[in-house]
Amino acid sequence: MSAGGGRSFGFDRAAPLIVALLVIGAWQAATVAWDVPAWLVPSPLEVGRTLIADRALLAASLGVTLSIALAALAIAIVLGVAIALAFVQSRWIETAFTPYVVLLQVTPIVAIAPLIIIWVHDTRIALILCAVVVAIFPIVSDTTLGLRSVDPRLLDLFRMNRATRWQVLARLRIPSALPAFFGGLRIAGGLSLIGAVVAEFVAGTGGQGAGLAYQILMAGIQLNIPRLFAALVLITLAGVALHVALAWLSRRALAHWHESELAER
């Protein structure tokens, strides 16, 4: 492979790709060289073939997992921001409720998931709830922090101009909180996917609404290792895609003042 692309901007993007190609190449070479059976470690080619052969099944499962993760992320954003807003309204609320938010965060989701799955009849809603529990913490904590880290002199300026509580919130606290909020959002994006997958593992539900976790579970039982790898690859790609999308959103929202480059008009 030629490396004539130059080492500036293009290189930054190409470097991780080159690493990926090297690893995949070495993997392929190793499975061929040592004649590793596909049920132990499938070669990348075998995984690729499975991705194509099982595309209908896997795509449907990917859709299920993604829709659960995205629904959970949306709920975590709305609920998390609402909780953070309540927290900054009164120290009392924050003091009273923070321990419970932390409690939710430190309790492993695998331990809570069975309860949620038993209590909530609809499996899909139960899975979404589990993912929300996992994803909501960084949004609550980062947004609360952001809403609180307001330049005290700006706060003085608002007070001198007799700003109402609402004006301080809308025109000062919320804009100040955006960078922290987007930081939390990026972490929550990955967590929502993890939550969705872990909860599905615990639920072990199949049939119509089977997600990628279920496919991995079944493939493991059936020793269909290529499909297991294929499902794994899809989960990873979904996570990366989610991260890239949220990073893009964050850049769109903040670039004009967090990095000055886009501001010229």
Binding site: R159, R162, W257
Partner: protein, 284 residues
């Protein structure tokens, strides 16, 4: 210590002071005594500079005059009334902070418009005022820029434009040019003095620069540390506008020397005292 209050009242009489600080003290919650009983009248049209070493409570005093901090005991009156009666025509306060303190997410015009919007003025009504305020500080062509795109001096001017947009009667400035280089600082001093003349403002200006105090003020109040108290009150009887000729005059040097001695006295013969570390050395 000279009996300050009497001196001030003896000199100017008649009109209601823009600010009347009477026996105001400040003790913070942690027990720190920031200010000893302060008496200070600011007359309309005065340019009063509060001068003193770091930690002498001058910023605390300014925050109290701004209504952002309540005195522990004693009173402060604005045009003879309480703080709640300010904010109307003829009784408007505005403050310029140590740093530009602009909202980084908002363009310059939006930053300058903020005080008007907080007062409930519609966008259309504020347009002319915002343009005028920006023109006053020479930032007309930067209205659509973000604060980050401007130099420190330009950001400070934007901050002044924001303070002037409500047409304040009393402008409070807390070491506004302290973080700027000497050249920019002198330039902004000249602009500020001309704004004060043009707008017939009353200004309370906090600084630890003796040169800046002499150049700008009609009156300099010297404060000393621990606890913060008034040490001296010096009238700078020089006509405005003042130019570079004044800066190099012997009269300028005389005022500077007098203030320098007062600051040294404020430090109470403890030159190594940490509170006075920021104090300029007394004249040779």
């Amino acid at each position: 210590m000279p009996p300050r209050g009497e001196a001030a009242e003896g000199r100017i009489g008649g009109t209601t002071p823009a600010v009347a600080v009477a026996q105001a003290t400040k003790t913070f919650d942690n027990g720190t005594r920031a200010l000893e009983a302060i008496d200070l009248d600011i007359r309309p049209g005065e340019f009063v500079t509060v001068l003193g070493p770091s930690g002498c409570g001058k910023s605390t005093l300014l925050h109290m005059i701004a209504g952002l901090l309540a005195p522990t005991s004693g009173t402060i009156r604005w045009w003879g009334g309480p703080w709640s009666a300010t904010g109307t025509d003829g009784r408007r306060l505005a403050m310029v902070f140590q740093a530009p303190t602009l909202m980084p997410w908002a363009r310059l015009d939006a930053n300058v418009r903020l005080p008007l919007e907080l007062a409930g003025a519609g966008h259309a009504k504020t347009e002319a005022s915002v343009r005028e305020a920006l023109a006053l500080v020479g930032l007309t062509e930067f209205a659509r820029h973000y604060p980050r795109q401007l130099s420190g001096g330009m950001q400070m001017r934007a901050s002044i434009a924001r303070a002037l947009v409500t047409r304040p009667d009393l402008l409070l400035m807390d070491e506004p040019f302290g973080a700027l280089d000497e050249f920019t600082r002198q330039h902004l001093d000249i602009e500020l003095a001309s704004l004060w003349l043009k707008r017939k403002l009353t200004i309370v200006f906090v600084t630890h620069s003796i040169q800046e105090a002499v150049f700008l003020s009609t009156r300099v109040v010297v404060m000393g540390p621990r606890p913060g108290r008034l040490i001296d009150d010096v009238a700078i009887d020089e006509p405005h506008p003042r130019g570079d000729a004044f800066r190099v005059s012997t009269r300028f040097a005389g005022y500077a020397q007098r203030l320098s001695a007062a600051v040294a006295r404020a430090c109470g013969g403890h030159p190594g005292d940490e509170a006075c570390a920021g104090a300029p050395a007394s004249g040779p």
